[in-house]
């Protein structure tokens, strides 16, 4: 997977091939990467401020935005001199070498770059992603969704909507249980049961309201219709045989 991104970064017209950035990055990044590999154009790349911490991370890029991983991983792996896991984001844009220099280094036969998810002998244990990000627990997403729930007048952003995590709800359920425990009521089982059956019921309702999702109702209805036809036919045949006194 990483090899392909290195190849994408080598051929800059292919790097602009992906039509839209799923994480709302600057639309100028695809055009700038497709034009040439100059350091000033990469310096113009800007992210929304809260996604910036994740897009610097190699694991997050490899999972979520495959277009940028080939470009932004280059300084971290091309010139790493230590476990530089989260360098400040300004060092990429205004560093002495810039993106263009690093890109040339990687283009010329791989340089000192090392793929983060390679085979075992190439695996870099120093630059492993942290455990929380590997589990998909991102506290700033949880905090942003919390704000979106508490303040119902602001408009929901799409990148928050498509991230349906389970860590925040589990955390909130534990908080609710511990609050009730502080109030002298042990209701962990009730919370668990209500949550499970509520989730199942509402999942069924929402999916039945929007039948684009394949549901179990239509095959069941078809089977029941055909069974009803068979029963009616057998019943009619029996009545006719009895009425005409046939064997």
């Amino acid at each position: 997977m990483m090899r392909n991104h290195v190849l994408d970064a080598e051929s800059p017209q292919k790097a602009g091939y992906y039509p839209n950035d799923p994480h709302g990055g600057a639309p100028s990044s695809s055009s700038s990467s497709s034009s040439s590999s100059s350091s000033s154009s990469y310096g113009a790349y800007q992210n929304p401020p809260q996604q910036q911490a994740f897009e610097q991370d190699p694991w997050f890029e490899q999972q979520n935005s495959p277009k940028h991983s080939g470009q932004q991983n280059m300084p971290a792996y091309g010139g790493f001199t230590g476990p530089a896991n989260h360098p400040p984001p300004q060092s990429y844009a205004t560093g002495p070498m810039g993106y263009g220099g690093m890109n040339m280094t990687m283009g010329g036969g791989g340089g000192g770059g090392m793929p983060p998810m390679g085979p075992l002998d190439e695996y870099d244990f120093d630059n492993e992603p942290p455990l929380l990000e590997e589990l998909g627990i991102r506290f700033d997403h949880i905090w942003t969704k919390t704000q979106a729930v508490v303040n119902p007048t602001q408009r929901l952003r799409d990148d928050i909507l498509e991230d349906a995590d389970l860590a925040g709800p589990l955390f909130f359920c534990l908080i609710l249980g511990s609050c009730l425990l502080l109030a002298g009521k042990v209701h962990f089982g009730y919370i668990y049961g209500f949550s499970v059956f509520g989730c199942l019921g509402l999942h069924m309702i929402v999916n039945l309201l929007h039948a684009k999702v394949p549901s179990f109702v239509y095959p069941a209805r078809r089977v029941s219709v055909s069974l009803t036809r068979v029963c009616v036919r057998v019943f009619c045949v029996c009545r006719v045989r009895r009425a005409w006194s046939l064997p």
């Binding site: 119902p152 929901l156 909507l161 109030a183 209701h187 949550s195 019921g201």
Partner: protein, 105 residues
Amino acid sequence: MTCSVLGYGLLPVIALAGLSVVLRLKTFPVVGAVLATAAIAWSTFAAARLFDAKVREKTPPWNVGNAPDVSLHLLPLQLGLTEQYWLVVYPVVLLYSCFVLITVF
């Protein structure tokens, strides 16, 4: 997705539970009833709003434009659930009222 939405909608109920630690809500029936109703309404509308936006994401564009009644909704919705909005709201109300009941009593 449903678990995530319902769990995030639980936040006002958590606030009510945190309040019920310091303040015994059974002993102030009027205040307790008002706060419980407010918590149910708040969490229900938050969850229904998230559901609405999610459904809006999933709905293909040829099924969207059948004259949504914007005046029916009090909040800035994205109108994925148009006629079915109150049908989704009703079980969410029941679920959160269960949580609020075990919080208050």
